[in-house]
Each structure stands twice: as structure tokens, then as C-alpha cells.
């Protein structure tokens, strides 16, 4: 029983590295690499109304003609006090270029004056696993936190510096990688994926 190899349909280095750490944590020889075709194909349009449609759509699109397992991810930060924003638009909240710093500035502006329970937020991750243009499984994970007034920490990516995880008393950008991997939305979804592959005897 040899380990499975997952090809990640993403060009986000932070995300690919996080998947590589997550795979290493799971043991069993599961390995993760960037999908070579990713930058060669026209970009997939990720403007659907749900993380689900984006993640599954990406997995289907990028796995066409690929006999290996392709992993696509879509994640979002859901802030109930902002009506669920930035949600499915998280990575492009401040503009199509997807600049994390600008996204954080915009978020903190929108949160100005909000206190207590109104600063609650949830990170949600949807993972889709596909091969030859067909999805064989979808996994998801979520984690609750609060949005700080200003960024703290230098690890992670995206909104991590302002997402405060109460049980650890730290932001996701302050948490040691291993600890973030264990509790994060992406870590929880990936754990289910690894369990699925292990049960299928593939990792």
C-alpha cells in the first residue's frame, strides 16, 4: 500500500505549503505537490456564490485529463456581523488582485465600532478531490474565532493575522504551524480527506 499523491490546484504558495505540512502530519506516505498544469491553463472563474461551487468547479476543471488525484480548496472568512461577508469573496474582498494586506485593511474598516459578539468570525474550508474531471469526494471544516483590531503575528496567510483563536489566546498567524494545522478549518477538512484515503487503502 503506497502513499497517494495529491496535486493541488492552486498557485498560492502559503496554501500549498500548508497542505504539504498537513499531509506530513497524517503520515502514511501521503504527499502533496502543486499541479503542474495549474499555471498553463486559463484561470478558473471563482465567482460562484458558494465555496462549494468554486471548490468542486476548480477540482473538475483542473483534473480534466489528469489521472492522478487533484485537490482543490476554497476557503472563506464568514463574519455574521457583516452579513456573512467577506465569505466566498474573501480572497478578492479588496480587489481582484487578491492582496491579503488590502483585504485585512478593508475588513478592519468594516469592523470599526463593532465590539463583543459582533467581532465573532468563522473560517470555513471546502476541499474537493477529483480525477479525470470528476469529483470523488468533498470535505469541509470550520473553526470559530474573533477578529482583532489589528494584525498580530507573521505566520500563515490571508486573514490569519487578525483571526484570534480563543482556546490558544493567539491569532492564526501567531500559532505554531503544527498547532494551527490541528485546529484550523483547513486542517479539520484535510484530516477527513486523509481518513477517507486511508480507509480506501490509498494512503
Amino acid at each position: 500500500m503506497r502513499g497517494a499523491r495529491l496535486l493541488v490546484a492552486s498557485s498560492n504558495r502559503g496554501k500549498i505549503e500548508e497542505f504539504q505540512e498537513l499531509a506530513a502530519r497524517c503520515g502514511g506516505g501521503l504527499s502533496v505537490e502543486a499541479l503542474p498544469e495549474f499555471d498553463r491553463l486559463p484561470a478558473f472563474d471563482e465567482s460562484a456564490e458558494t465555496l462549494a461551487e468554486n471548490a468542486a468547479g476548480k477540482a473538475i476543471y483542473y483534473s480534466r485529463g489528469v489521472a492522478e488525484l487533484v485537490l482543490a480548496d476554497d476557503s472563506g472568512l464568514v463574519v455574521p456581523a457583516l452579513g456573512g461577508e467577506p465569505g466566498v469573496r474573501s480572497s478578492r474582498y479588496a480587489g481582484p488582485e487578491g492582496d491579503a494586506k488590502k483585504n485585512i485593511v478593508k475588513l478592519l474598516g468594516a469592523m470599526a465600532g463593532k465590539t463583543g459578539a459582533d467581532r465573532a468570525a468563522r473560517f470555513v474550508c471546502v476541499l474537493a478531490l477529483a480525477r479525470m474531471g470528476r469529483v470523488e469526494a468533498v470535505f469541509s471544516g470550520a473553526v470559530e474565532g474573533t477578529i482583532l483590531d489589528e494584525p498580530r503575528g507573521s505566520r500563515g496567510f490571508g486573514y490569519d493575522p487578525v483571526f484570534h483563536y480563543e482556546p490558544a489566546g493567539k491569532t492564526f498567524a501567531e500559532l505554531p504551524r503544527e498547532e494551527k494545522d490541528r485546529v484550523s478549518h483547513r486542517g479539520r477538512a484535510f484530516e477527513r480527506l486523509a481518513k477517507y484515503l486511508a480507509e480506501a487503502g490509498r494512503a
Copy 2:
């Protein structure tokens, strides 16, 4: 070019009828029927953290060994003032039996004292289309509304009687079916599905 037949993985009559109307609206010979295997198989566990995982998981599970297209749906009512609840737990909000009246009573209780923007809500629908245990496409749709203080209207199902759609000045349970189909979360998602099948020359 003959019309496609979709087998819906659901035992919710209201939902199946809604899909049949939606298919009829689209023309092109697209037809919808309940999946015969649905009640014969052990029920799929719909307790994932996202509509995506539930919809795709259901589509994969119920389409195993089925050569025809199987359609699975998961929908939820997202109320930002309740931290996004009932969300993915919408159909089982007041208990596992999924009683719509009890769900509405629980929702109205949770909304007591909430006014203005705090009564905003969003219906979200995720549709997954699968065959032989593999998802070939995922579609989603959403619609914004407000939660009334008490139910109005007798059409539709689920939370429709308390979901007020502002542009029509009516709840989803008061709207003529045709009008609801045109604007609802499920209608919008289904429209994308029908377009996908038409472009693929299948409906």
C-alpha cells in the same frame, strides 16, 4: 438531442415537485423523478459542516452503480444575526425528525426582539450532479430576504412561510410557484444546471 432525466436523491415531496416544476420551466425535455433507490438504501448522514459536503456526499452515495444522472440538493437558511444559524442544520434545527413547523417556531423564538437589519436572512442552495459515484458538476444559488414575526402563506415548504422576499412584498409561501422558481436560491442554482446540460447537448 433527447432530454436528460435527473433522478433526485430526496424523499421530500415538496422538493421533488419543485425540481419538476423547475425542469418544466426550462423546457428542452429535461425531466425529474425521485431516485427509486432512495428509500431502499440506508440514509446518508447529512451532518457535515457545509451544504457542499452534504450535497456532494449525497450525490456520490446515491449515484453509486446508477448510470443515470443523480441530483442531490442541500439548502439552508442563513441568518447573520444568529451567527449564521440555522444554516447547514436548517432542516433538523428543532430536532432530527425535520419538522418544518417546529423549525419555524424555534427560529421565531431565536429571532424574538431582533428588528431591522437583524432580521436579514439568506437562502442558499447547493446542487450536485453525479453518476456512478462521481460528481460531474456543482451549482449554487442564493437569495436575500427577511424573517417575518409570523408565518404567511401556504405554498412551498420548510421556512418559506417566514421568508419575506422584499422585491415581491411576499413570503416564499405566498408567491405563485412560477415566481418563486424564478427568484429562489434553488431556482437560480437549477437554472445554471439546466444551462450546463443544454451546453453539453444533453437537455
